[in-house]
Symmetry: C2
Subunit: 270 residues, 2 copies
């Protein structure tokens, strides 16, 4: 058997505004698509990948563009690194969702003029609600992954990653398993949710107005609604070896040394 999956976009989802019912709008777009091509009707085991932007829009996370900087500050748990440039300060922060990303994920692309858009407050809860609603409406057991576009350390550009999820297995934990030669696989935990998020971006794109994609053929990863959410994919605690940018950590060390010297000098004088 050849392992295989396919990915396609769902056109026909209108511009989303606050309090829109995403379950009915997405279900309607899927039904319209499958009326034209019955093979595209949703099946149990399909995974729906949804751009976080339409979740935020439905949940009323719009803020005036002029208040973008304040919104970034409000959504920031911790500044990881910043760099001042002529146009302002570029901030990489840990968001209240546990994500480390530029500008707390607040941006103005694909948002109506004059507005900026914050991330969904709890993307895993949004995913669970959408998953439960679509499972009931369409009568099939699907999984949901909510994505955002995120930069990485040491790589240029961005890829889409999973920031919310429901009803889907997020990692293929091979630790303790064996490789094809029967030898132990040591440190491998494939983050399939991020790989699926990135795959869906290849059909969703950012310029074509397609915010939802279907992934078919990975039904082995579709689980119950009580499966852990994407928050479990974030690494922000003691394990995080990059808690601060190099310049920020350097400055902390520099200031700590000077403070120690000052204390010692003071003790010597006393």
């Amino acid at each position: 058997m050849t392992p295989r999956f396919s990915v396609w976009g769902i056109p026909g989802i209108p511009e989303i505004t606050p309090n829109d019912d995403l379950v009915s709008l997405i279900a309607a777009a899927i039904n319209a698509q499958s009326a034209a091509d019955p093979a595209l009707a949703l099946q149990s085991g399909d995974i729906l990948v949804v751009t976080s932007k339409i979740i935020s829009k439905a949940e009323g996370m719009q803020v005036p563009a002029a208040e973008r900087e304040q919104a970034i500050t409000a959504d920031t748990v911790r500044v990881v690194a910043e760099r001042v440039h002529p146009g302002g300060t570029f901030r990489i922060v840990e968001t209240r969702q546990g994500l480390v990303m530029a500008a707390a994920g607040i941006d103005m692309s694909n948002v109506p003029e004059g507005l900026a858009l914050r991330l969904p407050a709890d993307p895993d809860a949004s995913a669970r609600a959408l998953c439960a609603g679509l499972r009931e409406t369409l009568g099939v057991d699907i999984g949901i992954i909510i994505t955002d576009t995120i930069g990485r350390a040491w790589r240029i550009g961005q890829t889409d990653m999973a920031i919310g999820a429901a009803g889907v297995q997020l990692t293929d934990d091979l630790r303790g398993g064996n490789d094809a030669n029967g030898r132990p696989l040591h440190v491998t935990q494939a983050v399939i949710a991020d790989e699926i998020a990135g795959a869906a971006d290849l059909v969703k794109g950012k310029t074509n107005g397609i915010p939802v994609a279907v992934v078919r053929g990975l039904g082995r990863f579709v689980l119950g609604l009580d499966a852990p959410g994407a928050r479990t994919l974030t690494r922000t605690g003691d394990d995080d070896m990059f808690r601060f940018g190099s310049a920020e950590a350097y400055r902390l060390g520099y200031e700590a040394a000077l403070a120690e010297v000052k204390t010692k000098n003071k003790q010597r004088q006393d």
Copy 2:
């Protein structure tokens, strides 16, 4: 039109040993697969995603497992961060390929007993040779992405990323373009090569002995053999805000402050 693509694995590639001819072995596996299912015959516009391990094996990058630590040191341009644990020292380094990854990408999974495997010395050159060879042998214009499994800052686990490439566009540079509302997209450069690498991992896996996958439907990204390689995806210069781990940068700052104090004290005494 619904944007769409599909991904499948190519079974039947034998365990690779030094000096194996990958072009003929991969072409033979593709021909065997398409004899059983003609729809799977390679077409122009297909992208072949190849696990770096089989490239390394064919290129003789095996080292005795006992010399793994020395090999990591030899392949390290710069130590980014390290953490000592009871079993040894965990090192995140910049490799000579410009990648920042644990243990310089040297590992022992899916490698015969007693051996460890280094990354291909020049994965872009490997990709170009494979791409040229397969284009000639199979008579179709395909692209090649060579992948490795890499951890990310601030996320658990690993995903597959592009470490070598030929004949394929690596990023969809939307900077200067417009979103679906016609408004400028500011900082978006989608790294499609990493998204394709991750997608292919979902069928290749690490436990099923399938080191090559085909991606069909993204032919708009297939280019000539002179397209830039995956080395262009690495960010290791002044733009890298995470050049050192937080602990390492902190220590550098701490030591710099003490050295300054020492110099000042000496000047005062003179």
